[in-house]
Amino acid sequence: MPFIPHSKLDTEQMLSTIGVDSIDDLFDEIPLSLRCNELNKIPQGLSEMEVTRLMRERASQDGRPLCFLGAGAYEHHIPAAVWELTTRGEFYSAYTPYQAEASQGTLQLLYEYQSMMASLMSMDVSNASLYDGSSALAEAVLMAVRANRQSKSKKILLPSTINPVYRQVTHAIVKNQGIELVEVPFDPVTGKTDQSALRQYSAEDFAALVIPQPNFFGVLEDVDVLTQWATSNKMLSIAVVNPMAMALLKPPGEWGEAGVDIVCGEGQPLGAPLASGGPYFGFMCCQQKHVRQMPGRIIGRTTDLDGKEGFTLTLQAREQHIRRSKATSNICTNQGLLVTAATIYMSLLGPEGLKKVALNSHKNTQLLVQRLEQIKGVKRVFSGSNFHECVLVLEADVEKIIASLAKDHHILAGLELSKYYPNLTNSLLVCATETRTEQDIEHFAVTLEKLL
């Protein structure tokens, strides 16, 4: 797609065609009080040379630590071919092209992505991705409120075992639309959503129940029971899953008797390297009956006038380029580049490969936990089964230990949870993916033991 800027004359002609005096007039519907006008807090620009130097200095501070930290983003091995192919010029764009149908290759890739995600989740439909995992949950909440027409409430049951950052982001996005997130506590013994607490809400009207799998503690929830409970109480069910775990566990389309209504989550484990907050991508799948309430782009396969196979944007009449402020969603974008990497990653690994990665991550985490539990003063907190993360409690000041391991030993030990869960003081959420070896685990354990 060539980059052709508008000349002043072009702009004037376009404005006069639609009967508007100035470009500013196009933004009239935004109240003056909400406009920032100038970006005063943005520093002066730097030259390319200066930026390169600054970034190189910053990058060197990152080092190459040994990572046992998960908590939402995970270090998996990414075959070299993934980013070699993803960064080819033909794919190297962050967005679906605006003249979408001119880019059949990109559309086909997105179609393949959707097919793989729908298959992995055992759901009818997938969109072409969303911004990230947390905003995907916010979109799922908004979607559930639109789609559940039996419910008059704009309330959602949100277990406290959901990633706390997802809860914050979702709250920020939905609160001004009058949607209330009601927190369901977890069972302090198992680390799962407390079902007796949940049952207290049976008589109340909620639009949906959110079900994480695995939950933020790495613990597996009783997803069949939770899904069925939601259905029998006329709530929709929203699964928030780690896509890698779905290669091993029962996919959300098969939870309960009829599967969940909506699935969303963070796509980073599928081919995106760890980076300071991204870019990652969100994904969303749903049952066919909800497809018109699903935000984001969906690519369809069709035949053209000559009977040849082609790919096209479909169900786009409710998107913002047509519906503007009334669009199904105005914050959704897709992460075309990250989805390209995910599609290539999944293609290279295949279902068996994904399953191996998931299984080895699970095994390594079991090894890690067993090894760390041999250290005096280290205990596992919850009895529930784990995927590839686990909460430990240490008889020590965990914040200090994390800092010391990172600074002096180049080990990222995990996440201390009391900032999000005040009762879990001196806790440590650890993770070992398929990339950790027995030696890595031993090195971590020995180093930790010395600090205790």
Binding site: R149, R292, A317, R318, I322, R323, K326
Partner: protein
């Protein structure tokens, strides 16, 4: 020339309102509106029992190129919706004034109909 029967009233936003013998008001979109929208692929019907004010958004009609809100031409309660449109949204394209009706409303105040346009005025407004 657009087809606008003279037995009913019209809103600027292209809905028609037909007063039934029992005092209820049947609502749909004009032939002109369905023509502008093109082939309809989906109709999101309002919920029966919902109370709406005059001018409230209560339904969405979606074609391959646009999705448009349907505004209630009068205030009242939705007492029936055209379920056939769920499977056959094209009924609106085929018979906007008959089988393509969208919902029936029990009006709070029948005289709100007087604020709508008659067929000549509506025709004038769309031919401008």
């Amino acid at each position: 020339m657009a087809n606008t029967p003279d037995d009913r009233k019209y809103a600027d936003s292209h809905e028609w309102a037909f007063l039934e013998d029992d005092g209820t008001i049947r609502v749909g979109i004009s032939d002109h509106a369905q023509e502008l929208l093109g082939d309809l692929v989906f109709v999101e019907l309002p919920e029966v029992g919902r109370t709406v004010g005059k001018g409230d958004e209560c339904s969405v009609v979606e074609s391959v190129k646009a999705a448009s809100d349907i505004y209630s031409p009068v205030s009242g309660e939705i007492i029936a919706v055209n379920d056939s449109l769920e499977d056959e949204p094209e009924l609106i394209n085929q018979a906007a004034y008959d089988e393509g009706w969208i919902f029936v409303i029990q009006p709070v105040d029948e005289s709100e109909l007087d604020e709508l346009l008659d067929n000549d005025a509506y025709l004038g407004s769309i031919e401008e």
